[in-house]
């Protein structure tokens, strides 16, 4: 049973906030059930079964657009609903080398790129939602998000490209930095603030810390 979007997001945000005691007190037995922040392929797939397709026909048709049109259609958060998709025809026709080159161009097109199950507005699994929430906490809103549920070839292609078995995946400045678990650890230990700074992005949490210290 799927919970309403808002309740779901709140739950995940609460879990993100609440996980710190568990991480910081290694000697203490955690009372809460540990968050499954990393899972193998089978487990992850089991946890993240997509719900029935709710895409409009138009968006499905978009999957057959040419590469140039797909590039123009690449969506950013705040400019429209849904993630971008790779052109199916292009991917199908390309060799494995060609696909790697396309994905290489895709992850380098924006400073922050995420591959999700679902969209930032409607993540379809808890781990993808956690990534969205972490980016929101830092005030990162202008990032490229790709919904792998819309393209099975992208879903497997990005795993081969990164040699990482699970979705979501996060790329900063064209470099793969990890999935939900690593992004969460970077959020906890302050590395994410530093990485964003290198990209010229000022984390909203810096302001929060300044206010706290006043």
């Amino acid at each position: 049973m799927r919970l309403p979007g808002k309740a779901h997001r709140y739950g995940v945000s609460d879990m993100i906030g609440g996980i710190e005691p568990v991480l910081s007190n290694h000697e203490t037995h955690p009372r809460a059930y540990p968050m499954r922040t990393s899972s193998g392929p089978a487990g992850h797939q089991g946890l993240c079964k997509p719900s029935g397709g709710r895409r409009s026909g138009d968006q499905r048709a978009g999957m057959s657009a040419s590469l140039s049109r797909a590039a123009a259609a690449l969506l950013r958060w705040g400019r429209g609903a849904g993630g971008g998709v790779l052109p199916r025809a292009g991917v199908r026709a390309a060799s494995s080398g060609g696909q790697a080159e396309q994905l290489d161009a895709l992850v380098k097109k924006d400073k922050v790129v995420v591959f999700l199950k679902g969209t930032p507005e409607q993540p379809q699994c808890g781990f993808s939602n956690a990534v969205v929430q972490i980016l929101r906490l830092h005030g990162v809103r202008d990032y490229a998000a790709y919904n792998v549920l819309e393209d099975p070839e992208l879903r497997q292609g990005i795993k081969d490209y990164s040699n990482w078995p699970t979705i979501p995946q996060v790329y900063l400045n064209g470099e793969f930095v990890g999935g939900c678990d690593i992004l969460l650890q970077m959020h906890q230990n302050g590395d994410l603030v530093e990485e964003l700074k290198k990209l010229g992005i000022r984390s909203a949490l810096i302001d929060e810390k300044d206010q706290d210290s006043k």
Binding site: M1, R2, L3, H8, G11, V12, M15, H26, H29, R31, A32, Y33, P34, R36, T37, S38, S39, G40, A42, G43, G46, L47, C48, S51, Q124, C125, G126, N129, N163, W164, P165, F176, V177, G178, D181, I182, Q185, M186, D191
Partner: protein, 110 residues
Amino acid sequence: MAAWGPVAAMPLLRGSRGLPLWHCAHRMFASQTEGELKVTQVLKEKFPRATAIQVTDISGGCGAMYEIKIESEEFKAKRMVQQHQMVNQALKEEIKGMHGLRIFTSVPKC
């Protein structure tokens, strides 16, 4: 998705509330489970220079979910994702039987 809901969490919470002290005491005195020993052994073989390896079964005993903390100089000057990939690769066979895996890597301080 259900795993994230409060309804799904209720059974776990009830169990935790029911036997919190016993559960903690049990973990404190129990020796490592067979799965923990196996994973620890593999990591020791793959990371012979590791200064600390800690493997904990966090699945409540069914042996499907583990938390791994490993400290080794082999992680030096590597990104966290690369460190995790090294551990994933080392446990390639064991991971197939796992439902989940949490990895914490660190470099020993000189």
